[in-house]
Subunit: 483 residues, 2 copies
């Protein structure tokens, strides 16, 4: 790696851009349309495993996968007033088909609340059909005017898992938001990516929502990245779209909706949170290749060593592991190590003629780079144990890193002082008023992430005062520099 990751410098961004290409994940920056990239084979496999994890979690909780059209006519997108105010400025518009000008211009979906509401109007008739939970994994489009960043801020988000649900009551939708969050928390636990859950301040909620709750993680440079959001939509969409169902008491009422989404930032977070100066460090269960075998070939004993390596491969594959034997002749072992380390393969096995003679293999773990010689008899057991250890270790490291970057402070000065030295999340007591929250943002030149969610986390307050208005604090406000 040219760029050192150096957690406390500003190099993270270069590190990230470099590793995407170097590890064969994502080709970005040379497409003529800004904010669009290409998923390369290795990156695609990683992405696929991550998406499958999320699919399974959603399926297990009664979500049904569907697929809606990409093109949304302008009048449909505009039906909910707040929604179009929020998204209108960043929509790509299709205006022509062939040489013909279209009667109604068509948006490339920025998100699908409107289109799904249109169909829920057709489909939902009775409370007996509720709750109804749909999701799809699709491309969405935002005409970003801010600086774009590969996987993190793009114009074509190629991996948007969006869920949309309908309910009988406000409270049911409330509970659904919590289910969404618990699914997302479980998902990020499975990725080893730590997070904070915060209810976004009112001025920063989703366009058309009653409230928005989000998950943020802290990147190696101390900035936070939003990695998932859940919205209580109230009846804001069901009213203009007239999604009315018969209730148990035979009255008709508009349904209550929620929506929640996760994008390819999930992949970006795995790359960023676990990586190091040599490149990727992948959680073993997500790694496209879990074990790479590098034979060290000395003249005269090529066949023997390769045969030994092949046997190792077969034995590990029989255990269900994804194994690659790197038997290229034209590349030396050093260059191979370098390459597979950049790609984050959890376990490397080195074997040469000495190991053949001794009936041993050398195991190298990617996270700590520790080397150990083991007896070939113990191969399967040792490799399995090692992958478990690697997984525990990288999860723990990521958690510790994040926890050390969250600071509870009492006043603005202390917060300023901290922020001037290093980045992370500062938590200030807060009275709950928007004006005070916005003042904090301004004074610290940070973005307000919002407050903890009661059902998920306890806020311990001991008579603290809001540092802006000096009235009693009701919660805390989290602030950070964000991606």
């Amino acid at each position: 790696m040219k760029a050192s990751r150096d957690r406390w410098s500003n190099n993270f961004s270069e590190w990230f851009d470099e590793i995407l290409w170097k590890a064969g994940l994502y080709d970005y920056g040379r497409y003529p349309v800004k904010g669009c990239g290409v998923w390369l084979p290795y990156g695609f496999q990683l992405r696929r495993r991550i998406v499958e994890l999320l699919r399974k979690l959603l399926d297990n909780r009664g979500h049904e996968e569907v697929l809606f059209p990409i093109l949304i006519p302008e009048d449909l997108l505009s039906k909910e007033a707040e929604h179009i105010r929020g998204f209108g400025g960043e929509v790509f518009w299709v205006t022509h088909g062939g040489d013909e000008s279209l009667d109604v211009k068509l948006a490339l979906r920025p998100t699908s609340e409107t289109i799904i509401s249109l169909y829920e109007n057709y489909w939902l008739k009775s409370y007996k059909q509720l709750p109804k939970k749909y999701y799809q994994v699709v491309s969405i489009f935002r005409y970003e005017t801010k600086a774009t960043k590969p996987m993190i801020r793009v114009r074509e988000v190629t991996t948007f898992k969006e869920a949309h649900t309908a309910h009988e009551s406000f409270e049911d939708a409330d509970r659904q938001v919590l289910e969404a969050l618990s699914i997302y928390m479980e998902f990020y636990d499975l990725l080893g990516v730590p997070y904070l859950v915060s209810k976004r301040p009112d001025w920063d909620k989703f366009a058309g929502a009653l409230y928005t709750i989000a998950l943020d993680t802290i990147m190696p440079d101390g900035r936070t990245m939003q990695i998932g959001t859940a919205h209580h939509l109230g009846q804001n969409f069901s009213k203009p779209f007239e999604i009315r169902v018969q209730l148990e008491n035979e009255n008709l009422d508009f349904v209550w909706q929620t929506s929640y989404g996760i994008s390819e930032r999930a992949v970006a977070s795995v790359i960023a949170v676990h990586g190091d100066d040599r490149g990727l460090v992948l959680p073993p269960h997500l790694a496209p290749i879990q074990v790479v075998i590098v034979p060290i070939i000395v003249r005269g004993r090529e066949a023997e060593v390769l045969e030994y390596a092949s046997k190792i491969k077969s034995r590990l594959e029989a255990k269900g592991l994804r194994v690659h034997l790197d038997d290229r002749r034209e590349v030396g072992p050093g260059a191979k190590y370098y390459e597979w380390e950049a790609k984050g393969v959890p376990v490397r096995i080195e074997v040469g003629s000495l190991e053949v003679d001794e009936n041993t293999v050398i195991l190298v773990r990617r996270d700590s780079l520790e080397k150990r010689k083991i007896n070939i008899e113990d191969l399967e057991e040792e490799v399995e144990e090692l992958t478990t250890k690697i997984w525990e270790n990288i999860k723990k490291k990521a958690k510790e890193y994040m926890e050390a970057r969250i600071w509870k402070v009492k006043d603005i000065r202390e917060a300023k002082n901290l922020v001037s030295k290093k980045l992370g999340i500062v938590e200030l007591p807060w009275c709950g008023r928007c004006s005070c929250g916005e003042k904090m943002q301004e004074l610290l030149n940070l973005k307000a992430l919002g407050s903890p969610v009661e059902a998920i986390e306890n806020v311990e307050l001991d008579g603290e005062k809001c540092p802006v208005c000096n009235s009693e604090a009701k919660t805390v406000m989290r602030l950070a520099k964000t991606y």
Copy 2:
């Protein structure tokens, strides 16, 4: 079903439209943008299994899955002259981002040869990297001016598997086209969908290709549907995109390319080819639900029957089968049968109090609707055997149907006579000249599908003459009404 499928009438089209909605596959015809539909949960599951089958076949033959952007700048799409001539008229154009007019208008990809060639120019340097085989599964867009038809002729093709390969030589690309065809033949064999492989006449090849070979199947109304295509692209794209690699002899040369694609017509073909007047008939390995259990509940013995049904479910699930127990109270058994038959579930199990007393179950197979009582001890074995039988039977029926609809004829009059009575494929001796082929189209008011491919099929000719010019036939021309 309201519309009878009636293979020899013109009702097939109505049958198809009806079953899509009735079986919960696809919601079409009420979206404000023409040619766009919604994949419903059950349809999505069927689509997913079919796509996964295809993925596996491609992965096993060294194809790497990738994902390229959807937006193609006009100048990129126009780089290959034939290509833009072929596609330009049916491209959706994005011209605005928010309120801004874009400098260069962007096409929604109609197919990805140009964009992939752009990257192959970056990536490919040496013959050692060849052959290179990429594929992606994406939405593509065609501003169809013809009448649209759900899943068959749409404006957003939501399920386009497109493969793109690069090779050292013309011959390698030639062989790749054959590999593509053999993958597609295997794929359709796995769907039980019969096909003919024909080299398309020159005037009907893909825009930018040297030649195109396609797979067609025959629909229940006798029209053919193109269900897969493979193209030898020659150096037509590699020259304008300057994809030059170093050969083994150290010369530089442009690569030779192929591309091949299959769309959601694969799903449509499964629905159309196997269905009957009651609805879908699904191949057991593709069915989202393989066995449905319908308990017949008589008052007083509800708990017993349900417990018996649950046990059956567990036992079959333990064998890896996808089983659904339909224990709804408010729906009668008759209505349930009707519903699951429409959805094409291969095996239905009926159990009531009599079966509980006797330790039996009733098995009903979807394809023939035959009923049989079996001993519960033989449950797993009988169900497995039955699914095998169903699969063999529907494959065979589909094949026989298709074979009976292909007619070898000697002259135009005979062909005309046949076509006036029923639809299918007519094969006429052909001299190989375009003008004669086009004349056949005109005289018969059919579309020319092309000729058999030598490496796949033998054409037996015994001095036949081309019925248009009366010179010696070199091959046969296949003609049909097409979708």
